[in-house]
């Protein structure tokens, strides 16, 4: 009888110890034992290649998400028709590989103020007139972390993957231009420069964009 009680007390104590250790996160969970460890990169030095002086007034940013894909198809060889198809083409007489990426990024538009020259600015007394250069796409940012591989069948070289990513970025730029990002960037640039010039004390301000 005493032996049995000792056994129960020991088991309860064991449960309490395990719960405490789990709560304090001192004991690895059952799941984490079989969890793949993350691959981390080494902290290698950063080499400066170029430093460029800019004067870009960024006025509009467009966030977007696009899908880009690539498919390579070929007719099945007689041996391949006998084997189970893993490429997703099923019982069709063709086989191949497919890559579908989802890219999330942003487009930045505005005016390049370095294109301003002496002819673009006219100031006299409390009057000023400026002709700003036309708004343009100044940056299209789609970083590696912004891509999600939705579907990948077959072997894809890094060059082929890069081509799909460039396709996604181009699609994002085209969509933002269709949405009128440049028109809005022009309008916003005029407002910002007008406000700045009024702050400088000019009473009569005229700001236009070229084109």
């Amino acid at each position: 009888m005493r032996k049995r009680w000792i056994r129960y007390v020991f088991l309860i104590a064991l449960v309490l110890v395990v719960l405490t250790l789990l709560n304090m996160k001192w004991l690895p969970s059952f799941k984490s034992i079989f969890k793949a460890q993350p691959v981390t990169i080494e902290n290698t030095p950063i080499l400066i290649k170029e430093i460029n002086e800019l004067a870009q007034l960024c006025t509009i940013t467009a966030f977007d998400e696009v899908v880009a894909d690539s498919v390579v198809m070929k007719m099945k060889s007689p041996i391949e028709t006998l084997l189970p198809d893993l490429s997703g083409f099923g019982n069709l007489p063709v086989t191949g590989k497919r890559l579908v990426l989802i890219g999330k990024g942003k487009i930045i538009a505005g005016v390049d103020l370095r294109k301003l020259n002496e002819q673009s600015v006219f100031a006299e007394g409390d009057s000023v007139s400026i002709i700003l250069p036309a708004a343009e796409i100044l940056d299209a940012i789609m970083n590696p972390a912004d891509f999600e591989t939705f579907s990948e069948t077959g072997e894809w070289s890094s060059e082929a993957v890069t081509a799909v990513k460039i396709k996604a970025r181009t699609k994002m730029i085209e969509r933002s231009v269709e949405q009128g990002i440049l028109t809005r960037a022009n309008a916003r640039s005029i407002v910002l420069i007008e406000n700045f010039l009024r702050g400088l004390g000019f009473k009569k301000v005229r700001v236009q964009t070229a084109g």
């Binding site: 004991l27 969970s29 059952f30 691959v39 400066i48 590696p144 591989t149 890069t162 970025r169 910002l192």
Partner: protein, 186 residues
């Protein structure tokens, strides 16, 4: 009884680790910004990684990639309001905000796999895995922006550009200061 308790313990170990998953909804739209970008740094970095930490995976795999990133920094143009400008005849004093890092951009065409070594029982790095490694490099580059002198150069270029712009407006003496501390006098 003993077996039951062991099963109970295992269940607790598994269930205790189930974390809650909550993600905010992304809203994609056109947004107005007011950034005056004054500097662009183009930097190179070697991405070196070795996948040998997981105990149950037989064999290692290593990868060496090179990447080129572009960092852009400048000042918030909307922060320059009438209260930051003092005019005294042909003399103007302007208070500019401090520079901030606006973007780190790694173009897909600027990431190259230089070397890859895969063990007999392992598969090569997938597109997603290579992207995650490049994302780590992006974070390291972004964190090193201040040490690279990006912000300091952005402030110097901002004061140069603004003083040149004001000279074209007819001002003869231009004093550019940055918030809290005077940085440059012209």
């Amino acid at each position: 009884m003993f077996k039951k308790i062991i099963y109970f313990l295992l269940c607790i170990m598994v269930s205790c680790q189930a974390g809650s998953y909550k993600k905010e909804q992304d809203i994609l739209a056109l947004k107005e910004i007011n950034e005056l970008v004054t500097v662009e740094y183009v930097v190179n970095k070697i991405i070196k990684a070795s996948d040998d930490k997981t105990w149950y995976k037989i064999g290692d795999r290593k990868i060496l990639m090179t990447c080129e990133a572009t960092l852009k920094a400048g000042i918030d143009f909307s922060a320059i309001t009438a209260k930051h400008i003092q005019i005294n005849g042909k003399e103007v004093t302007l208070m500019l905000p401090h520079a901030t890092l606006f973007s780190v951009n790694i173009k897909p065409e600027n990431i190259r796999v230089a070397y890859e070594e895969t063990g007999a029982f392992r598969s090569s790095f997938s597109t997603q895995e290579r992207d995650m490694l490049a994302a780590q490099a992006q974070e390291q580059i972004g964190n090193a922006a201040d040490a690279l002198g990006v912000l300091q150069t952005a402030e110097t270029n901002a004061s140069l550009f603004v003083s040149h712009f004001l000279r074209n407006m007819g001002y003869e003496k231009i004093i550019i200061q940055f918030e809290n501390a005077p940085v440059k006098l012209n």
